[in-house]
Symmetry: C2
Subunit: 98 residues, 2 copies
DNA sequence: TGCAATATGTTGCGACGCCATATATGGACA
DNA sequence: TGTCCATATATGGCGTCGCAACATATTGCA
């Protein structure tokens, strides 16, 4: 969900995605390299994202991923599910602390 | 975290815990039996909860779990961590939808 | 008698995160 | 020139854990 969110507006490469997740979450969320890249391959295999190699002088090659039509649909479902999940968890933990 | 929360106020047995989680979350959170009982054993092995068999006529035996001192400490840490995690996720997904 | 709800339990499979390690480039600094 | 850090992608192996499927046992209701 996080990866799909981050490439929703524009394509990004793996390293950029991992840095954004770490920065924006204030360190609360973290993807280690050994989780991030295999995850990107899974998402691509499922057809939710589409990668493309970009070569630029002055920097090594990067693989930019963009959101596919299917990915956009899946993202909407995941966001809705996530919000329901959080609301559910809160109902359980907050009632007990009332 | 959910299990620890639910037995914070008073001891409960496995089946009751699973029903409470399902009801209060409106079905958004669910523990299958093959996840619930092994999880209870793990929590007990870690010393966070303490189980006790209770026999009552008119119903089959139940194992009631109560929160230990360690469990109470762990629950506080988990709640804090969970809230930070949710806040982090929200910062990532909401910025993109702004 | 049969069925649903209650209540606890196990085996085995698959998904997935992380440790450790590997490769490669560019820029800053001594 | 050499060293170190940040950037950038990649993989093998291990451990955790959720779930499907199956199993056992009791109570209450039709």
């Amino acid at each position: 969900m996080l990866i799909l969110s981050l490439i929703e507006a524009r394509p990004r490469h793996g390293y950029e995605i991992s840095k954004l997740i770490e920065q924006r979450s204030g360190g609360a969320v973290r993807f280690h390299v050994a989780s991030l890249y295999p995850l990107l391959y899974r998402l691509e295999r499922r057809g939710w994202i589409q990668g493309r190699w970009v070569e630029k002088s002055g920097q090594r090659r990067r693989r930019y991923y963009r959101l596919t039509r299917d990915g956009r649909r899946v993202l909407a479902v995941q966001l809705r599910g996530w919000r329901e999940f959080v609301a559910g968890i809160n109902r359980i933990t907050e009632v007990e602390n009332a």
